[in-house]
């Protein structure tokens, strides 16, 4: 290629890369909402808000012993190994369970319940727990534990043979 043409093209390379990248990263999101590697829109922790919601698992009783008040699964580090490890997969499972409950998909609900009870509550032979949505102000909840509202989506029991 003529050296001058090559130079003129290279002058536009930055603009071309930026436009092509923007098309793929911002407008080229897959139908399932996931990014198309190696394009990424770099929206990391973009939104802060005084009102956040979180889908959580709360435990009411273990092995027939009633707790004085329902406790968040991740706070029960003395009981559950996955709570000690802060295993992030339970977050994702709880989110998926909420969607399955809303869509009335009993097969997925049953499957995810099984996963929670066998894998994440393996230390308990029986347990009563619920899936709830917490509405909170992050700073208030971190400093005082205050939660604005709790919406219970479903209550389940892990049976002794479960």
């Amino acid at each position: 290629m003529n050296k001058y043409v090559s130079y003129r093209l290279s002058r536009q390379l930055g603009a071309f890369l930026i436009c092509a990248y923007t098309l793929m990263a911002v407008f080229g999101t897959r139908p399932d909402g996931l990014e198309t590697f190696p394009f990424f829109n770099w929206s990391l922790f973009s939104t802060s808000s005084g009102v956040r919601s979180d889908v959580v698992v709360r435990v009411h009783s273990i092995d027939g012993r009633e707790l004085s008040s329902p406790r968040l699964y991740y706070d029960m580090k003395e009981t559950f190994m996955h709570a000690r490890r802060q295993d992030p997969n339970l977050f994702k499972i709880a989110d998926r369970l909420m969607i399955a409950i809303r869509e009335n998909d009993s097969a997925v609900v049953s499957n995810l319940r099984g996963l929670i009870e066998r894998r994440y509550m393996a230390e308990a032979s029986t347990a009563k727990y619920d899936l709830s949505v917490l509405i909170y102000n992050p700073v208030d909840r971190l400093q005082t534990g205050a939660v604005k509202r709790i919406m219970v989506l479903a209550t389940y029991e892990k049976a002794a043979d479960g």
């Binding site: 130079y7 290279s10 890369l17 198309t36 990424f40 770099w42 929206s43 802060s48 992050p138």
Partner: protein, 337 residues
């Protein structure tokens, strides 16, 4: 069409470039920038050899530990072969390719092979159900360098080739800075949305505190400085607004060489902040910001603080009005006349 694009590009360059010309001699400058750019390219490839080497152990452990692979599209061909051990050889191959590209910088073929293997290696690290973003910049620099013209060592390189070479480096710098601009753009968008809704958001005094607290609640982490920042949100508020500005205008900085070094350091400080406040580390970004901007081939040999301030996007000229400097009070050696 070509004329239209060229004229639009010129206009954009005129708008976003500094209105204070550099004082380095024009002809000598291209030669010096070209030499620096060649060093940058070679350092990138030797650094890539280091990164490839440092990834080997992690990928080996992943292959041994887990049979669950959800291959991203660059590695879809591996699903046909059904042999995960090939994954372990990807960083090894990337290491060899980077060493060849380092040793033979005039041959594009090695840069192309490296870019492909770099893509495969980064894809392998992200083929277990979720994508992290620590290796993206590594790949995109390698991809951009594929466009470099062949500039043989120990030969007189024509000026047009030098200019082409430098234009490609500018393009790579622009793309990397654009990533930060995107990050800033989303923060601005979310902040404006919150303002319109009348709720706390990115522009509120507690904006950063809310973000940090939510992260700590979700991950159970205790970052070194998070508690201090959450408790003293009147201190963190201006820091967060400054960060949004630094990110949003980042791509403009590519056309203002006096600010390359400063923005390199500022963005490094941003990554230090994400670690101290959120325990999120982008190690490779520190390295590449250093190489691309702190050691930018386009950094001027001499500059004044006033000129640098007036180069700040959006409100630089306003700030510079209140800054009195003797025109000869320059930082760095004064160029020979």
């Amino acid at each position: 069409m070509d004329k239209m694009i060229t004229s639009a590009a010129r206009r954009a360059r005129r708008i976003f470039s500094s209105n204070q010309p550099l004082t380095d001699p024009v002809f000598g400058r291209v030669g010096e920038q070209f030499n620096r750019a060649q060093y940058f390219v070679r350092i990138y490839y030797i650094v890539s050899a280091f990164i490839s080497y440092s990834l080997m152990n992690g990928l080996h452990a992943r292959v041994l530990r887990s049979g669950e692979w959800d291959y991203l599209w660059p590695l879809a061909w591996l699903a046909q072969i059904n042999d995960n051990s090939i994954i372990e050889w990807l960083p090894v191959a990337a290491l060899f390719a980077s060493l060849f590209a380092f040793q033979f910088p005039a041959f594009r073929v090695f840069r192309v092979v490296f870019a492909i293997l770099c893509l495969f290696t980064a894809a392998a690290f992200n083929s277990q159900g979720s994508i992290s973003h620590g290796l993206h910049v590594w790949f995109w620099i390698g991809f951009g360098l594929v466009f470099l013209p062949n500039a043989p060592a120990n030969h007189a390189v024509p000026r047009t080739v030098k200019m082409t070479y430098l234009s490609v480096i500018v393009a790579v710098q622009a793309l990397i800075l654009f990533f930060y601009t995107l990050a800033g753009f989303w923060k601005i968008l979310a902040g404006l949305t919150s303002l319109l809704r009348g709720v706390e958001g990115n522009f509120s005094p507690r904006g950063l505190s809310l973000q940090l607290a939510d992260r700590m609640l979700q991950t159970g982490t205790s970052p070194l400085l998070a508690d201090v920042v959450i408790a003293n949100f009147w201190l963190s508020w201006p820091m967060f607004l400054a960060l949004i500005y630094i990110q949003l205008v980042a791509v403009i900085i590519v056309l203002r060489p006096r600010l390359h070094v400063l923005w390199g350091y500022l963005l490094m400080m941003f990554h230090l902040g994400t670690w101290l406040l959120m325990e999120i580390a982008f190690q490779h970004h520190i390295l590449f910001l250093g190489l691309l901007f702190v050691m930018s081939p386009f950094r001027p040999r001499s500059w004044t603080v006033r000129d640098a301030i007036s180069d700040l996007p959006v409100f630089g000229r306003l700030l510079a009005l209140g800054w009195r400097t003797h025109p000869d009070k320059r930082v760095g050696p004064v160029p020979a006349e």
